[in-house]
Symmetry: none
Subunit: 235 residues, 2 copies
DNA sequence: GCCCATTTTATAAAATCTTTATAAATCCCC
DNA sequence: GGGGATTTATAAAGATTTTATAAAATGGGC
């Protein structure tokens, strides 16, 4: 789970075994984990500026709900409750007083990790966020024009500069046929001279890469005697 | 629930009664609710820019998981899955492919509302705090833009002026490729003339310094024949 | 004058682009 | 429907371009 790398997570629970179990599990994913055995200790740890807080509800002295209410306005990171109290009313209360998630004990470590990762991911999205990217999407295929990156089912596929240029041009004009000369002119520039085989070769490479990740698809169609075109809807 | 006022929520489910039930419930809280009966309709509704998406997993044509994967990179709002599939593996899958929450059917409307409100609240918190953010964080790396200081694992690393300029520009636009000419123009100024090797050299120095403190990471990627870009998620 | 950041130069290494040759597919006219 | 011509596909190798590295030169500030 790449998202968890480098993040600081505060785990608060009065049961030491649970704390150490969670700590170890999250550290395995690359997070830095700081811990507290009760609400007061947790308050002291806040100066470390955690990226996420996991909070047991039932603790002596200062319980999880109380702690959450105290810090919620000062701390903008997600707060996840973990509790043996399974009633719906408890879950709703936890979410209402400022919690972002509520997991009932006994819980699966894998689900805890998945939920922690999801919250961290969403935080990153919003923080690194306000990047309006131009992304072309055709089914499972995505062309990130600013990042010059191609993804199929979220998986990045390396394309060379020329390959990307050709794909971009075609995909920006779905359904329109481009002759090889047109492609050459648009991508290499007006004065450029070159063999039309060059295009053929690049198209072949593009198709090969797309074909590996998405075998049934046929994004680039050959229009015989004319050129190539991008299929509006991949088949 | 104050948070829900004025928000737009997209509800996607093929069972019309469920859609209308959720719609009514959320509208009572002050949200604007738009709906879709399947994945394709949902895609068409995305132009409305919802603040949150509720997604049924099992739908004909395009299921919730598939839809989520398709849109996750373009849509930064929270995505909540609602599903009759209750197995842990399903929940974890949903959270792993970009979902932010997973609620099993049959669900309590009150809990759904509480979870929706919690996600909206957290988004508002982050977006509000985003304005005066002056420290960029990428994994273990922190860029203090005000203090022009670079820290890895809390340890400060000295960077020269140009090095910091280049890093700052790249890191402020994660995922976007900058050509050497673009970098030169943005940092040295329009009229400046210079060798593109200068950039190469500075990038080398930056990578060397980052590499010492964080050997596995690769923050700046070479996009062959195009330029350099900052990885949103360091690999 | 010395130190440090910056830039330039030269060379090595890597990746890509283009060409060439050959095979396969498609079209068109008879 | 078949044969020849044309167009496109495939594969591999050479040429070219681009980037990485190292080291030396420049130039300003103390």
């Amino acid at each position: 789970m790449r998202v968890m790398k480098g993040n600081t997570i505060l785990v608060v629970d009065d049961e030491a075994e649970i704390v150490s179990m969670i700590k170890q599990s999250l550290e395995n994913e690359g997070s830095e984990v700081i811990t507290a055995g009760d609400g007061r200790q947790a308050l002291e740890q806040l100066h470390r500026n955690p990226d996420l807080i996991i909070l047991d509800v039932m603790m002596p002295a200062l319980n999880g709900f109380e702690l959450c209410q105290m810090i919620r306005d000062e701390v903008s990171c997600p707060i996840l409750f973990v509790s043996a109290k399974q009633k719906e009313a408890d879950r709703i209360q936890g979410l209402s007083i400022g919690g972002d998630d509520y997991i009932t004990k006994p819980f699966s470590l894998r689900e805890l990790k998945a939920r922690v990762a999801a919250h961290l991911r969403q935080n990153q999205r919003l923080l690194a966020g306000n990047v309006h990217r131009r992304v072309l999407r055709y089914g499972f295929l995505q062309l990130d024009l600013q990042g010059r990156e191609v993804r199929i089912r979220q998986q990045s596929i390396p394309f060379t500069a020329r390959e990307f240029d050709i794909m971009e041009l075609l995909a920006l004009h779905p359904g329109q046929v481009f002759s090889k000369d047109q492609l050459y002119e648009k991508i290499w520039g007006l004065e450029a001279v070159g063999d039309s085989n060059t295009i053929t070769e690049h198209v072949k490479k593009i198709r090969a890469k797309l074909g590996v990740a998405d075998p049934q698809s046929n994004y680039i169609t050959t229009v015989w005697g004319v050129g190539y075109k991008w299929e509006a809807i991949p088949s």
